[in-house]
Symmetry: D2
Subunit: 401 residues, 4 copies
Amino acid sequence: MDFTETERIRDLKLRATRFLDEFVIPAEPVYAQQKTEIGPWETPPVMAELKKAARDRGLWNLFLPGERGAGLTNLEYAHVAEITGRSPWIMPEALNCSAPDTGNMEILAHFATPPVQKRWLQPLLDGEIRSVYSMTEPLVASSDANNIDTLITEDADGLRINGRKWWSSGAMSPACKVAVVMGRSNPDGEHHRTHSMVVVPLDTPGVNVLRSTSVFGYSDSGHGGHAEILYDDVRVPRENLLGELHGGFAIAQARLGPGRIHHAMRLVGMAERAFDLMCSRAHERTPFGRPLAEQGVFQDWVAEARIRIETTRLLVLKTAWLMDTVGNRGAAIEISGIKVAAPRMATWVIDHAIQAHGGGGVSQDFPLAELYAQARMLRIADGPDEVHKMSLARRELRRFA
Amino acid sequence: MDFTETERIRDLKLRATRFLDEFVIPAEPVYAQQKTEIGPWETPPVMAELKKAARDRGLWNLFLPGERGAGLTNLEYAHVAEITGRSPWIMPEALNCSAPDTGNMEILAHFATPPVQKRWLQPLLDGEIRSVYSMTEPLVASSDANNIDTLITEDADGLRINGRKWWSSGAMSPACKVAVVMGRSNPDGEHHRTHSMVVVPLDTPGVNVLRSTSVFGYSDSGHGGHAEILYDDVRVPRENLLGELHGGFAIAQARLGPGRIHHAMRLVGMAERAFDLMCSRAHERTPFGRPLAEQGVFQDWVAEARIRIETTRLLVLKTAWLMDTVGNRGAAIEISGIKVAAPRMATWVIDHAIQAHGGGGVSQDFPLAELYAQARMLRIADGPDEVHKMSLARRELRRFA
Amino acid sequence: MDFTETERIRDLKLRATRFLDEFVIPAEPVYAQQKTEIGPWETPPVMAELKKAARDRGLWNLFLPGERGAGLTNLEYAHVAEITGRSPWIMPEALNCSAPDTGNMEILAHFATPPVQKRWLQPLLDGEIRSVYSMTEPLVASSDANNIDTLITEDADGLRINGRKWWSSGAMSPACKVAVVMGRSNPDGEHHRTHSMVVVPLDTPGVNVLRSTSVFGYSDSGHGGHAEILYDDVRVPRENLLGELHGGFAIAQARLGPGRIHHAMRLVGMAERAFDLMCSRAHERTPFGRPLAEQGVFQDWVAEARIRIETTRLLVLKTAWLMDTVGNRGAAIEISGIKVAAPRMATWVIDHAIQAHGGGGVSQDFPLAELYAQARMLRIADGPDEVHKMSLARRELRRFA
Amino acid sequence: MDFTETERIRDLKLRATRFLDEFVIPAEPVYAQQKTEIGPWETPPVMAELKKAARDRGLWNLFLPGERGAGLTNLEYAHVAEITGRSPWIMPEALNCSAPDTGNMEILAHFATPPVQKRWLQPLLDGEIRSVYSMTEPLVASSDANNIDTLITEDADGLRINGRKWWSSGAMSPACKVAVVMGRSNPDGEHHRTHSMVVVPLDTPGVNVLRSTSVFGYSDSGHGGHAEILYDDVRVPRENLLGELHGGFAIAQARLGPGRIHHAMRLVGMAERAFDLMCSRAHERTPFGRPLAEQGVFQDWVAEARIRIETTRLLVLKTAWLMDTVGNRGAAIEISGIKVAAPRMATWVIDHAIQAHGGGGVSQDFPLAELYAQARMLRIADGPDEVHKMSLARRELRRFA
């Protein structure tokens, strides 16, 4: 194991932290204010300024390996992702590193045909448009991806899509122009050779964006919400297929590894933000004659929080390092591990920070309640904890069979 | 201990359950729809119909002991409160049994002067107006009520109030007309002889309702939100004092006992609602080849939930019975106990119901996320868990000193 | 629900508590001393004195309903069982109310033929001998009773038993004279019509008591340990069959209900003993300048412990009351519930009492570590938690199918 | 951070693992058998053979940095310590790496006068004798080391020691020849300049080894138990003082850092042993028609265990690396962190392995119950969890003051 903070990592962290402190944190109240002024689904204008500033500072598309992006390893990017998690509604987008665009760009870069790459990947890389990932469905237990029931059929004219999706995050935003859609193309196929993935421009006839679902009362409006979309006999050309026909699972799998590092490290950053708020607050409030910071139960939370944050961060870094060195498959146990460990740690830390803030903690006066909602959602998104634990356990138990 | 379900309790439960099934549950989508149509702080019109129906059926002011109310014991009312918790945004209000009106009516009935009772208690009993309880403050650790810093001074003209409050729930509603305000009147007084409580009409000059704080992303709009109020040199006549000058703590204490039974039993009802949703859903969803209802981890949640709900319910019933037989003081350990146990149980059950619903669980398609926010808030409101545990422990440890 | 502490219950509690304080607690050091002096499996002589004293005071066979015993309801006896749990190695035996004799006496009273009752039930009721229940087996997952593999075959001479059992508690004691053995008699029979139960005198040829298994490091020597027994072609007459041939499951089931009340209430008593020790100790120790009793984290444990003990006690009392009024079947959910809740609560409370005692807590200087081992064992004995949760959940989920 | 598994670490792990598999695991039943044959406090003879084999293979004194030992870094040794934890009663001693000898050798090497080093350090390094660390006292809350009350006074003849200690581990063994004793020498001194540490040969007049305390029911007999020792006017020459007079706290502190790495890594190894046992067993047992390995609740435990083990191991490795690079002080938060995290993780994993083994789990047929007792003890030894959490939290909160 080698998590050495190389010179390169130290430099990246320094630059990202400066950007956070000098641009992002000061922009938070501006962003919040602008959100109340523009329509519900528009992106606050300050975002364009932040994007420009980030790009000027070389903090752009850091998530993307290889020539198209910044060429960082997963381990290197992980450190940046943590810092972006301190302001999770603003900084990832400012750096063009926010989900689901990151995952979509990755699979477009690997699996899309050249015309599709030109049409959709380039503007995404330039932060000019946003995209949506249409996988989860309201009518089936999507925690088991085999259940996905949207139909993709092939005919002479290309591909035809019929089905209903939800949690298509971002699609309420006018800036969101294109979807990656997973559907069943081969009902009787072999295991994991049953589904395909296609690129669907959102202005294609038959694409009906119906409404947005909320996350604990929050609409995630700045990001374009979480749309329910009816794909009603939508037709796209064959070139919009990603990878092979019926090869959707392999693409979904490839997409997941890095995405989990990103989510997990952002959660570490979210937890650190909550930790800072909790510790600062504790010096300012004095219930029962002593500052909260000197009270035993509160100190217990601080110690627990530090232990949980630190152990989780280490596991994510190890996972990133494994992905860099032995690949997704060799890191499978750890990838499942962080998918479970990181949101749980973050919800724990944030929940205790809320409690330490009293009524303020659940309100809009601190980011804590919304951080909680985000972190809690991540115990469900991309598969609930239980599925990842099952998968991890089966892999371990195989060794003893 | 005698929790016998008397004939009277059975009758009450039957009538309340019928009202829930025939009126309240069907009204839920209507209420939700109307909320989207009226301005943010208005009460949905269906509420008036429900109130009338409840009153016609003798389900009115059941919370209030003695002649003014239904004359129920705490134990008897507890059973009703559980049923109202199944639809906590609608049924308590429909029965004129919702916080903070219930607590306010109780203290008005016990401690207000006759003119104040006539002016404010009667319309509250009739469900014509709503009221607010102004205790918590944004600038101090209000978990320790000694910190409350709003100033109440007496002069020849009466009482003068200066201070800032928040979590003054309900005050955003146009129907809300009067506040009960706690403030410091005797800074150098003996322990618990430092604060007073006064009745303040909301249209008094100097009462500035500034904004509402949210609970996670929810505004509790139907109920009139949670207001921040600046009391800026507000003057009320001496007759608006509740009880004795500097006797505010005793009143606050008297208010709390029954309130905790109400909250705790509603939480039991909220948990039962989540339990039902979780169990029903589990028969409908089939991840990985077997219905969720047949999967081990899910069954474990069901068993845990049932054990937690049942044990908590029993503790609340015992507490109610103790209050009826030996009074608040004799029930002090149990009152602290349910303040801690009930919201914790409910958040646990609801959180697992959310997880069992996947994305639907955090969304507006099920009441679960909003139930969670309510239950979580109750680990803070009326004093955070930690304060009640400290108080319970000190009482126990005294026996061994 | 009616848990009224009747005059009769109050009287029982008073007498049992007096016996505890005046006889049992003072006998604890004597018992411990005698154990070091006699051989490993003998009963300390003080037990005979305690038995006599208990019998003289009408505290004898209280567990047994009907004419043969004290005629108490389950609810009435539950209160006594809690008190016996405060000294679980001495008081239950002193009152002739200790497992497995209690369960064995119950089934002998219900299901044995008259000659067997005369030969074995009477001396057990008189506390002259002890008995063993041979169910669990080392070679199969006995948490699923269907796996039990000891063979019981019938021929012209009677019944023949072949198999290996362990956790046959008490059989190491010279006072233990008879076993109740469960075995497979009907391999191809219908569900729950496959096993039989027989009475086997321990001096029957072929009964080989091989060794004792320990619980953590404790041998439970005073009680006769936990024996592994090889039944090697053991023959008993047909009259030794309990109930019907192949009717063993029904008997096992009947045995379990009351047994779970007994165990659960003793666990409540064990937890109360640990609670008392923890609270007393906290006034005597002063780490970091303040008595432990005034430190926040410790107070948190006290409050948690009180809440957990109280809620669990209430659930056990409700279960006892249900068994008295609607029978085992109507109380099935609650019986499973207390089987899970009581040992968990007790291990939690005792574990924290250990922690509050530091090194003393794990040592022989306090009963805490041995109480922990007992309580922990009860998360496994009579079926592990997981089986009971599964059973409870299935029953609940059926309502929603 | 750089946890790179260097060539040297890989080689060490390989050799240690081979020694475990080829010598230690096969010696376990021999050791157990010999323990039943020799008197209670003797070391089983097989240990001498194992020590020789280890020394022959260069697996000797690996814990000790610098020339006297193997010259390993903390990070390098940590990997070995984990492997020794798989057989914690045998392998550490076989490698001359068992507590409290390791810590004693470290402080003798750093702080003893040359004659004391010659007399006591050398035979310890050669594994010829064992030693004891006498710190904890039965009469005070030793979790706060300031409470330590044994008196050390200086006069013309040297040092005089009076006091009572317990948990002086190892002193029941005839092989144990010397104690390191901490006592109060300067009652009115400044903070942390109040205590001294001295070397006391166990055959000095006035040293009374009174009895041994057990851990749950285990006596740790192979290791010489845990002695209560009365130091009754014991006199030693001035040269037996370790370091400066009144400088005991600094020595105790220096001793603790590496010791915590050792304990924590052994706990990781203990947890891995339990994990292996649990997973193997799960393929062999089939309750309710499916192997335990295929049941959801069990799989959940496996995943949880893996996540907890892995995150804890990473934190310990990071701590070791920090100690190697920035020293004890720079690693203070992490040292406290692993003191809390490792025993908690291990007790969790072992407890679930016990549960998966049913009755076998608590018995002598598997090492699980004794592993649990060891791990549980380590939540108390060297200071209870609560003290380390307090210390960690204070350090963190200082940043926000």
